[in-house]
Symmetry: C2
Subunit: 394 residues, 2 copies
Amino acid sequence: MSTSNAPFERGEYARRIAKTRAAMAAQGLDAVFVTDPSNQAWLTGYDGWSFYVHQGVLLTMEGEPVWWGRHMDMMGGRRTCWMAHENIVGYGDHYVQSTEIHPMQDLAALLTARGLERARIGVEMENYYYSAKAHAVLSAEMPHATLCDATALVNWQRLIKSDAELGFIRKAARISEKVIETAIDRAEVGVRKNDLVADIMHAGLTGVEDDWGDYPAIVPLTPSGLDATAAHLTWDGTPMREGEATFFELSGCYRRYHAPLCRTVFLGTPSDDMRRAEAAQIEGIAAGLDAARAGNRTCDIANAFMGVLAKYRIERTGRMGYATGLSYPPDWGERTASIRSEDTTVLEPGMVFHFMPALWMESWGLETTETLLITPEGPAEPVCNIERKLFVKP
Amino acid sequence: MSTSNAPFERGEYARRIAKTRAAMAAQGLDAVFVTDPSNQAWLTGYDGWSFYVHQGVLLTMEGEPVWWGRHMDMMGGRRTCWMAHENIVGYGDHYVQSTEIHPMQDLAALLTARGLERARIGVEMENYYYSAKAHAVLSAEMPHATLCDATALVNWQRLIKSDAELGFIRKAARISEKVIETAIDRAEVGVRKNDLVADIMHAGLTGVEDDWGDYPAIVPLTPSGLDATAAHLTWDGTPMREGEATFFELSGCYRRYHAPLCRTVFLGTPSDDMRRAEAAQIEGIAAGLDAARAGNRTCDIANAFMGVLAKYRIERTGRMGYATGLSYPPDWGERTASIRSEDTTVLEPGMVFHFMPALWMESWGLETTETLLITPEGPAEPVCNIERKLFVKP
């Protein structure tokens, strides 16, 4: 028997595995080996900061999934996965970061032992945790198997959230509201950015009542002024200055589930340009939420927003959102459907997106965003409740 | 001209590039394309949380390196890299997480434009941020080039730290002392682990005086009791209990440089077994530090520690440390030399290792570690100054 602390009931995992197997069958796969830590957690409950070494979950068409990783992380597997201990297996520490041998040699032996020597096996070719070298070694070790690209096969099964998952996302949303409120409250001229980030992280980790805070998959992004023209700068020890906008790209996290939320604070008096962009952004978000209805497509959200921008004659290109939920660093997006004009994913109830039509202009940046839930009827529901506006402080 | 905020002087980057080019010449490479964010930062100063999309640094045998990434991150490149703006280039947002096109197609065009169509180009086959798919696409797009495995080529050049880098590591060490002291002070029966982690992160990010805290490449690992038999569990909202050991695997971070440090706290009265393990661990660390002399090898450190463990008849296998310094998630190790019996890297002054001979036993775990600096003469210098013992609290 397992001493599992997996966060969901067995039935939830059974549902997930059934969905994944249907997708595997559609692609004619005998097995998938998933390395994305989010996919591992989604299928098995595995949770640990061990994804910096090779590990993954093997799922075939029958039986429990197998968690495979470094021997010392088997104990973590036993503490967090729902499967029987014989389905949590480890490789020796001498494989770790060796230049002589590779963990994929051990995996090949496991696949062979499980009768998969000549199988069609899906691997996640486009994932942070499946390196070019890993693929080369696994291919060489399994000459009779067919390794197929199954990138995002599991991720797509995660797109529609169960009620249990939505419960976690709503808890994350309460934490997101708390961290954004902390950022808005604490931002003032002279406050060092790193001190502000310290307060933001503290607020997120303490969580909301019994709902303890987990680490978000992305650290707080909090650039000011010219730095806010760049999308992904973190922070330094510079005090906040008058006359600058600072955007806060944050998320609460509850047991690895996210509800990203961004707001922008201006210290002083914003320019007319920025006020106009604010008005456009807020009107555009309302239009996007209204377009985010079951049966419509992801591009309809993007086009609704862009229609408003065009009216204001503001130029913007690029993606403006993505599916979100369960995640590990370096990304809290699910890497499936995007909110952009080229994406035609049909919206269904239970899908959750971070709708982030940020405006990065020549000398400032403005981020106001919502995590939205597609509902059975009517417009999407923002899961957080923080006023949508540019927060102006003296 | 650049408006660079790169953390080091130009001469430091020139030194790094010269070392890297010598290693490239030794491998007969015309160019390297490095995707490891630490290598990118080390060569160019680039610093941003954008490594969740494809990006990298191209270095040839002449001229400035080129930072290449997503178009929206060019602004971040201009804000953080030391090179001229024409050497900071971006690809369109339609490449991001597309299933139709891949950013490596844009990179291939850049390589071709720079005359590298038939070149020998080193790529980091074993890196989180160079996926199997990226390699497949780049290979297909560059049929006349020779892509060679240059994994860790740049990492190895980072092994001996400059004085400027040691200055950063010493600042990180002051922050490490502060976070460990915070953990020891705040740990007590009934405190929720996530609240304790919130205080630890707050202490680390506020930093020490003017030395502001950056985000460590690994989140605090703080397991208690049975969870501490696993190496890489994070935290939850469970209150700390009497009779349990909790290890704190932490690091301060100053401008991406780390000085990892672990200590263990026991609430109550530890068993005789644990006390004996404590004695062995502390005696073993002293033996390891004494063996960590310029001219000796990494395995000498491991063997010195293992010799003490044998005397105490305690069994342990596996790696017990690694080179550390500049890093990004998911790992603060440099993935070059390891402290283990199979590793024969010769120690030189300026090398920095996290010496972590943790003991993960059947029902508890004990971590006492040091970040050590190899000095010109005599034993290694621990860069942090926190008493080495099991901290026992009522």
